[in-house]
Amino acid sequence: MTSPTAHRPTTANSPPAPVVRDPNYNFGYLDESTKRMLRRALLKAVAIPGYQVPFGGREMPLPYGWGTGGIQVTASILGPDDVLKVIDQGSDDTTNAVNIRRFFARVAGVATTTRTREATIIQSRHRIPESPLREGQIMVFQVPIPEPLRWLEPSEAETRTMHALAEYGGMHVKLYEDIAQHGRIATTYDYPVIVNGRYMMRPSPIPKFDNPKLDMSPALMLFGAGREKRVYAVPPYTRVESLDFDDHPFAVEQWDAACALCGARDSYLDEIILDDRGTRQHVCSDTEYCTERQLAAQGGKP
């Protein structure tokens, strides 16, 4: 890309300067009437758990597919006293999570944290933290495709009718076909759920390991799909059932391996390839959970 002598940053090892609030933008980037429109859509979503509410999605300064739905939801509910945590694939440190956290520090000046228990709002892509959530916390999920029936029926007009009629047999057939073909259900993430006994919902691409955390959670779960212009919600203490059959009950992954860093056996593990001879290691996907456990083991204060 550039000549080898180009730009050798002298600050490579010093911590980046803290992000300063940019006064040129309204608090949370969006204007107040847009935030009100979004909050109305979210209230409707909370009132009809699992139902996809269309909203007038705005164009954000980050690309579609990179969390614009979650960002708009967070922007509309964020207050000056909130403490924001942003994770991507369970990690606070992946580049997209860092970028979204920096965005809110810049346009809202809110406090940010990596600690799950300190956060009032947790925006996430593809994971629910391992540490239990509590009342008053809000999870905001970034959703790429909100429609659980999309791979069965590409037309939005059709799928909205199917939801209205609770016509969900096709999904059961798909899961049954998995069992007939593979001997097991072959859906591993974005595993469909029924919310409050009525609407089928796509929990965003979280691994099915995280599905049980949605059920009767004390925290409010909000889902935002920016490109598709839909929001939906699971209110606190709402039933969320993963689809299954009596003879093929819903099951989640569990590892024989433990986390190589903190020894956890109860968390979702990522596989790391260590060399070209196939040596592998498993580590916690939730980096904050892992770090806290390591600190606790060292007797340090978490």
Partner: protein, 392 residues
């Protein structure tokens, strides 16, 4: 020992600096100014304004400069800025028959009132590289000295056809509602024509070009003729409540394409030509024509024609036409997907562990049952460190 990835923030900041240097290019060459881009790359600026859905040549040129010539990225920059602007209201419909023309052609009549006006066009250039442009400092050709200016009377060809009742009317009906604004409201299906036209006006030129082309090759033929293409400047008027009348608030360069298409008529309705309409910011003839083809293709429902081609499918066209949406979602695949991939990897290992190998030479895992229908069991852990437990 693996150490969790850290330092994403510093890496991002470094990428900003590398990008800035990449964009600037060779520092021994003079920097390109925004004014130069706006003035000497007007077609790039027009495309960015059209797809960025904001008429501002200076900001569009800035976006082209900032995006290092990536026009989709430039349109994205302009859209992200546009979304922060306050909305004062809606203008009156622009009157393209009163356009100050630079170009106006018709493919349906040999001669038309006001004549055919080629204007500045690449159409009849023989596409030979002009090596004289390599040597900088060449004087541009002087504009042709025409004896008289353009005929002030340049009626739209479609108006002439309409006056004979050969072409469907395009006047707004009484009580015509305000047009849909897709930047404020979600798309609803079936979409009103105003929503479809707004979507097409913002749509990616390449997408529209291909969809329009597909209708010409047999996927939903609409038998189009170019009644007229005109390019020039129109005044934009706004009705000011306090004044009680409309005032001109500015000027726009636009390209308009009106296609006329065959229509057989139906019971109670005499046959007449139907319209496909294209309008884009700036000089954008290829896109205006493609838009007119696709607009007409999406009208098959209201005209009672078969809707069996991709370009006839409103939902398909409208949901996939926007390059800012498409570019973001395609490129999101480069974000980390460790978690989802891990769950797929694990499932695949277990499926393979329980299935007969497809190729000779592959050693079957110890617990392969060979019947192709292995049932999950604790033995799976021999092949994979993961097993499934019932969720409590």
């Amino acid at each position: 020992m693996y150490v969790a990835v850290k330092g994403g923030e510093q890496a991002i900041l470094n990428s900003y600096r590398l990008l800035d240097e990449y964009r600037r290019g060779d520092p021994t060459l003079p920097e390109l100014s925004v004014a130069q881009i706006a003035s000497q790359m007007p077609l790039a600026v027009a495309r960015v304004m059209a797809e960025g859905a904001l008429y501002d040549p200076q900001l569009a040129a800035l976006a082209v400069k900032q995006a290092a010539g990536d026009l989709i990225e430039a349109a994205f920059l302009l859209r992200a800025y546009r979304t922060t602007l306050p909305r004062f209201g809606a203008t009156l419909p622009i009157d393209t028959s009163a356009m100050h023309l630079q170009r106006r052609i018709s493919a349906t009549f040999k001669d038309v009132p006001g004549g055919q006006v080629l204007g500045p066009t690449y159409d009849y250039t023989q596409r030979l590289l002009d090596f004289s442009l390599l040597a900088e400092g060449r004087e541009p050709a002087s504009p042709p000295s025409s004896g008289q200016g353009l005929d002030p009377h340049m009626p739209r060809i479609t108006d002439l056809l309409r006056d004979e009742a050969l072409l469907e009317d395009d006047a707004s009906a009484a009580g015509d509602p305000e047009p849909v604004d897709l930047t404020r409201e979600p798309l609803e299906l079936p979409a009103a024509r105003s929503a479809r036209l707004q979507n097409l006006a913002r749509a990616d030129e390449g997408f529209l070009l291909s969809m329009g082309y597909s209708t010409q090759r047999g996927y939903g033929n609409t038998h189009p003729f170019v009644a007229e293409i005109r390019y020039g400047t129109v005044e934009v008027e706004m009705h000011i409540e306090e004044l009680g009348f409309a005032v001109t608030v500015g000027c726009l360069e636009v390209t308009e394409c009106q296609m006329v298409n065959q229509f057989a008529g139906r019971p109670g309705q005499a046959p007449c030509f139907t319209r496909g309409y294209g309008l884009v910011f700036g000089y954008g003839e290829r896109k205006a024509m493609s838009m007119a083809l696709v607009d007409r293709a999406m009208r098959v429902g209201e005209l009672g024609e078969p809707a069996d081609a991709p370009a006839n499918d409103q939902e398909f066209v409208l949901y996939h036409s926007d390059n800012v949406e498409a570019s973001g979602f395609v490129q999101h695949l480069k974000l980390p997907h460790y978690v989802d991939f891990q769950s797929n990897l694990d499932l695949l290992r277990r499926l393979r562990a329980g299935t007969c190998p497809l190729k000779a030479g592959v050693v079957p895992p110890a617990n392969a049952s060979g019947d192709g229908h292995a049932v999950a069991s604790a033995d799976d852990s021999a092949a994979s460190p993961t097993k499934e437990v019932l969720a409590s």
